[in-house]
């Protein structure tokens, strides 16, 4: 007779082992290491919650202190490899195998450890892709998560940084795994129930908030004239003609410049209400002036942003907020929204090759993907029409039968031809290919594939790749906006001029934009302080961004 509940019994054994350290569900912080050693088993699949924003930092530190003789060879399945402890556990042997999505600040170390054989890599995923695998073949046996507060029963309040938590808990708890939460405080009654108690098995009181990185704060003071020029080109050459209302912005300064030009340059073009009304977006402080001047109808957020909490609470028409008034973010849903319900993704990148493939890998760093590839890809399963989507589809296939023709999501790469350290954005060969060779990866880490990219915007102009009819045209369209990079200087000038006549390439002057008008005076806010003032004092910038 087959035993149909081995997983349930396995969890029960862990629950029994953990109860020695718990009063009800509450585990004391000073017992945390011993507790983890009791409930974990060598070789477990473990999700240690953390992404580009929130971190279950207390649990990460405790896991790193576990005895590798007792806990070893864990298979970590987690969104972010961000804290030093996330990699320390691979050095000590506590963990061996890794499936992840984003590594930001640890990108150089993770590459070294992969090359040195300390990390056995499963794959680098997008967020949504990793979440999907939690439900298919990477279901965690133990999830170590973070919340703002818990009640005695284990109901969790995540505050504005809900992010990945519901997804991780859903997969783990219903997959017969064990859910352990760190919380900032234990309260009689949580402000709202983000995670129901019956999905949570143990709670440890960290007595302090979990760590959150203010990743999406861009200081307007650092925006350059060239970035303003690229933003003007994007607004007038893309947002206006396509009428892009539903969109996602990347994290860079070019898109921050767009956000700060909407109430000035965008207003002058008469675009208010016609573009940028519905967003899948983290709460970017640089969007405050546009929200305040009535451009924005609705924003759904992947996560929160430090200092934006009170502002969002005071703008419930715009943001998704709970009965307690605070933001409810949800990374999985927002990624899905960005994939299926947005007509445009626009973001910066570090390298673009002649086919339009782009990558953020340079100099042996494995930075991961985060969510950009989900936003920056055409959703093949999409079936609902919209004007920009249909127009892009028509540009790509003008002779196709309209009723059978797929639309296209606008996937826009924006940047200056030369980036930090004078590194050219355009290259013959992506640095990602060298990394893949070196680390013996099956796939080079490509952020956005060339066949998904529809437009490239630089200070030299806009290349519309939808209008390119063959590989050569595509290559010359890319070279034609690549400025003084080697790729740009090697252009076929005659062919580039022909592409310009067909509006495959549009220069600033073709759009009626004088590059000399790209002045910081166009920005609606010049400093973080201006953003705070625009919010009526509701935005509370972190200290590191202040100059007052």
């Amino acid at each position: 007779m087959r035993d149909w509940n081995t997983k349930g019994r396995d969890r029960q054994a862990r629950l029994d082992a953990g109860r020695h350290f718990a009063a009800g569900k509450i585990v004391a912080a000073h017992d945390l290491v011993a507790f983890l050693e009791a409930v974990l088993r060598p070789g477990d699949r473990v999700c240690l919650e953390g992404d580009n924003q929130k971190q279950a930092d207390l649990l990460a530190k405790a896991l790193a202190k576990a005895d590798p003789a007792k806990i070893h060879d864990l298979h970590m399945v987690q969104s972010g490899v961000v804290l030093p402890e996330h990699l320390d556990i691979f050095e000590t042997g506590i963990a061996r195998r890794l499936d992840f999505s984003y590594s930001g600040p640890q990108s150089a170390r993770i590459a070294r450890m992969m090359f040195g054989g300390q990390i056995e890599l499963g794959a680098v995923h997008t967020y949504l892709e990793l979440f999907a695998r939690y439900f298919i073949d990477l279901t965690p046996q133990v999830a170590l998560i973070a919340a703002v507060s818990a009640d005695k029963d284990g109901n969790l309040y995540t505050g504005p940084n809900t992010e990945d938590t519901p997804t991780v808990v859903e997969a783990t708890s219903f997959g017969k795994g064990l859910v352990i939460a760190q919380v900032g405080e234990i309260v009689d009654r949580v402000p709202r129930v983000d995670i129901p108690a019956d999905q949570v098995h143990f709670v440890v009181n960290a007595q302090r908030p979990f760590y959150v990185e203010p990743l999406f704060t861009r200081d307007p003071a650092a925006i350059t004239e060239t970035q303003i020029l690229t933003a003007m080109l994007a607004i007038k050459g893309l947002y206006a003609p396509y009428g892009v209302r539903r969109l996602n912005h990347g994290i860079g300064f070019n898109t921050a410049a767009i956000e700060l030009l909407l109430p000035t340059f965008g207003e002058r073009l008469g675009l208010k209400g016609k573009v940028c009304t519905h967003w899948a977006l983290n709460p970017h402080p640089t969007l405050i002036p546009a929200i305040e001047s009535g451009w924005v109808e609705q924003i759904h957020c992947f996560g929160s942003e430090v200092g934006m909490e009170d502002y969002m609470r005071a703008r419930p028409d715009i943001f998704f907020t709970g009965p307690d008034g605070s933001l409810r973010s949800n990374r999985a849903f927002c990624q899905t929204a960005g994939l299926y319900a947005c007509d445009m993704f626009i973001g910066s990148t570090l390298q673009i090759d002649l086919a339009g493939n782009s990558s953020t890998v340079t100099g042996g760093r494995v930075a991961g993907f985060g969510g950009a590839p989900n936003m920056g890809s055409d959703a093949r399963g999409r079936r609902h029409p919209s004007a920009p989507w249909l127009r892009a589809g028509e540009e790509a296939d003008p002779d196709g039968t309209p009723a059978l023709r797929r639309g296209r999501k606008l996937v826009v790469q924006i940047g200056e031809t030369f980036g930090d350290g004078n590194a050219p954005m355009f290259v013959e060969r992506l640095g990602a290919l060298e990394l893949a060779d070196k680390l013996h990866l099956d796939l080079a880490p490509v952020m956005v594939y060339g066949d998904d990219v529809t437009h490239i915007v630089t200070e030299e102009g806009i290349a519309n790749l939808l209008l390119c009819r063959d590989k050569d045209e595509r290559e010359q369209a890319i070279r034609g906006v690549a400025g003084y990079t080697e790729v740009g200087r090697a252009r076929d000038r005659k062919m580039v001029e022909r592409l310009r006549e067909r509006k495959v390439i549009q220069r600033p002057e073709d759009l009626g934009i004088d590059p000399l008008d790209a002045d910081r005076g166009l920005l609606v806010a010049h400093s973080i302080k201006d953003l705070m003032i625009a919010s009526g004092g509701l935005y509370r910038p972190p200290s590191r961004f202040r100059n007052w």
Binding site: T224, T226, T417, F418, Y484, R489, P515, A518
Partner: protein, 104 residues
């Protein structure tokens, strides 16, 4: 420091009557461009001092495009570079020519 000089044929003479103009500052990623008159109307001389060695081909390309496209005839241009990128160089040169066209 690397010192570069380009003596370029121009297509359009510089406008305005202003004797001298200065744009930009010498800061990281920026440059200052001093524009003076005194060359023949079909010619522009550009002197560059840059701490970044080995970018002569880029300077050549940027200055050649500038001379071909801008009203730069008759100008003597001196650049102190703080490590600016080509797009910033091109922008400052264009700003300088525009400033020369304005009254003092």
């Amino acid at each position: 420091m690397e010192n570069l000089r380009y003596e370029l044929s121009t297509t359009k003479p510089a406008g305005g009557t202003r004797a001298v103009a200065l744009v930009g500052v010498v800061a990281s990623g920026n440059l200052e461009v001093l524009l003076e008159r005194g060359e023949a109307a079909d010619r522009c001389v550009i002197d560059i001092a840059t701490p970044a060695h080995g970018f002569a081909d880029l300077w050549q390309a940027v200055t050649a495009d500038f001379a071909a496209r801008s009203a730069a005839g008759g100008l003597r241009i001196t650049i102190n570079d703080g490590g600016a990128r080509p797009d910033t160089v091109a922008l400052r040169l264009a700003q300088g020519v525009r400033l020369m066209e304005k009254p003092e």
